[in-house]
Symmetry: C2
Subunit: 224 residues, 2 copies
């Protein structure tokens, strides 16, 4: 039995809810694919419209601009990751095991239990790695933050921080360590693939050395 998942997104992310119509879901589905294929800079609503077989104007009824679409899909990813985290750490007793799961989740090592037919999660994960930071590295970050657009990312970060505190209640940098873990996992994956001399992992498909690095980083930092 597969678990059907529907994530309710912050309405400020869109003009019309893409999850409610065929066209909307197509925008998300093909949007993810196209951003992945040609990169966010070259991605336009025009190209996406042609891909889907609709018009530019129709896409603009769903999203104010391509940056909002990027924020929508990355935010969806963070929400989904938090679900995964809750699901997979449920019933685990020791925080060490939970942290293990977190690192596995961040490095593609966990089999997905949830199904969303129009979202390809591994393509989405690849986008989050390459383009995700661009959703908050803008001049509108403060306005977007006030609209709560980054809440899912913060929630995930906070949940991870709490697990860190289970292991070491006196640790004074739980949130910074959590955001560092998320960012580092993704950035090292990116470097491994594109700028390998900034890492110690070579270019092999193997994620184990990265996994060990992150484990080492987190557990030594949390050790009393």
């Amino acid at each position: 039995m597969e678990l059907q998942l529907q994530i309710k997104m912050n309405p400020k992310l869109y003009l019309r809810d893409p999850d409610g119509t065929d066209l909307g879901r197509n925008i998300i589905k093909h949007g993810i694919q196209l951003i992945h294929d040609i990169g966010f800079e070259d991605f336009t609503f025009k190209k996406l419209a042609i891909e889907i077989g609709t018009t530019e104007a129709s896409i603009y009824r769903y999203f104010e601009n391509k940056h909002r679409l990027l924020t929508y899909i990355t935010t969806w990813f963070w929400t989904w990751l938090e679900y995964q985290l809750i699901f997979h750490t449920n019933n685990l007793k020791h925080p060490k095991e939970k942290i293990d799961i977190i690192i596995r989740l961040l490095t593609f090592q966990v089999q997905d239990k949830f199904i969303v037919e129009y979202i390809n999660k591994s393509t989405l994960h690849a986008i989050v790695i390459c383009e995700g930071d661009k959703s908050y590295l803008t001049k509108q970050v403060t306005a977007d933050n006030k609209s709560m657009l980054f809440k899912p990312y913060k929630d995930l970060c906070h949940r991870i921080a709490e697990i860190f505190l289970e292991l070491n209640p006196d640790f004074p940098f739980s949130h910074s360590l959590a955001s560092t873990l998320i960012e580092t996992a993704h950035r090292q994956l990116y470097f491994k693939e594109h700028l390998p001399s900034l890492t110690d992992f070579g270019k092999s498909k193997e994620v184990k050395p990265l996994f060990s690095f992150l484990q080492h980083l987190i557990f030594t930092a949390l050790n009393k």
Copy 2:
């Protein structure tokens, strides 16, 4: 006595060397200011031309496009940072002291000894924090890397990694830890300013807690 500094840049970064003419230096100087003021997305050569009092076409003779200009200035920053690192760690015996300097350099705590009259280094540092990652988070990363555009970043990373190995010669993740340190220092500074709940530092100007966090992260990771 102030040290005059001239950094020789990779010619693939530009079409005409901006360091050789008044207009070129103005492009760098006002380019840094304008990118800082309006953000890289809204920055255009048109706007920069108006700012300088020249024409768009003249700027295009120096840089192929605005992305190249961004890579030029961030690369300049990494080269300058490596100079600073060499200068300030010179004659230091213990790697612990050197690592201290590295962290101070990454968090704006070191007084600059070099002078470059047309580059405002604290504005540049702010750009590197907000926009720097965009120079390699593109579809052209592999081509740019082949042209050695990221060599200064890699050199800095390698130098830091070597210092880590002085402290712990058996540490297997020296490069990843170095790139993580650089990225984390900047990302946490960004979060502190714009998304403070992803950190434990509040929004005060104080960089000390960040400094402690980074010290803790690095020294526990390197500890045998």
